[in-house]
Amino acid sequence: MATIDRKKKIQIIAAIVVPAANAEIEANNAFTDKLYPEVTGIACSIMAKSPGGTDDVIENSVFNLFEIDSDEVYPRGFEAKLIAMSRDQDVPPDDKFYSNRDKFGEIIPFNGNASVVNIKYKDGGMGAVGDYPYTLNVYLRLEKPNEEREKMMPRWMRFLKSLYDKWDRENGETVS
């Protein structure tokens, strides 16, 4: 039976329940799907019980820790609203992810194991009383390298690609 080889997966890596204002919550040792070795995007969203009052709680809220495989993705004090999904209906869902292919490409594990994600989130205390508790969902966009396409390439093209990948890895140039 033919199987569908999915290249992309959206994973909710953490669902952090914030009970009260100014609470600091940790989500440690969350594992990514090991079948998808590339992390190509990060986003977060807030789900609160009270509709309409959810946008204020993200003001001043920060990530005090955000690391994948012990590599720092965001520094201490990075504001959550900078990677929060827009509520704008005109934005396609895939464009709501914050990605830098080079940056997230560097922290992928090639050893076939899952990546470990550690998050520490601190609420900014800006929500109204009715906004708490709310849930912060952190999403990762995971992708598979396109091996089949590489297999179909001519040998000289594969050689050039390997040289380019090596150069890119060593020089850290951004691939857009």
């Binding site: 609203k81 900078l82 827009s86 560097e106 090639f110 900014g124 800006m126 850290g172």
Partner: protein, 137 residues
């Protein structure tokens, strides 16, 4: 198989300008460039206002020099920060590819021109750059 380690990594630095009073100038913004920082690749801005979500737009003019004033990166660049509620689409980064000299200073000043904003606020300048990986090289 070991995880391949990159020679360079992209990371953020946060430069916080705290206690900005509307209509005032905040001089002496300063950050020392660490030794492993090679390129400045982008800048993002954000503002936080204590006590009340910043509903109105915060507007200011930022001047930044890098490499101890050898390069004038921004001159009176308009910084416009909206509340998350008013944001449309995705927050984008102002992109550069400016080489940085180790142990020099990033300096500048910020002038607030949003007279209608009530109360103090803190401006966070996110500097995104390429760093040499200290651990493996």
């Amino acid at each position: 198989m070991e995880k391949p380690s990159a020679k360079y990594q992209q990371r953020y630095h946060i430069l916080t300008v705290s206690g900005i009073i509307p209509g005032s100038i905040k001089p002496n913004i300063e950050l020392k460039v660490p030794e492993d920082w090679r390129y400045l690749e982008g800048i993002m801005f954000s503002a936080t206002k204590n006590g009340d979500p910043a509903r109105s737009h915060i507007v200011g003019l930022l001047t930044l020099h890098i490499n101890s004033k050898r390069t004038n990166l921004l001159q009176d660049f308009p910084v416009i920060v909206k509340a998350f509620k008013d944001q449309k689409g995705k927050m984008e980064m102002l992109r550069f590819k400016e080489p940085l000299i180790a142990n020099t200073l990033i300096q500048g000043y910020y002038e607030d021109v949003s007279g209608f904003v009530v109360g103090e606020y803190d401006l966070k300048i996110y500097l995104y750059g390429t760093h040499k990986n200290k651990v493996n090289y």
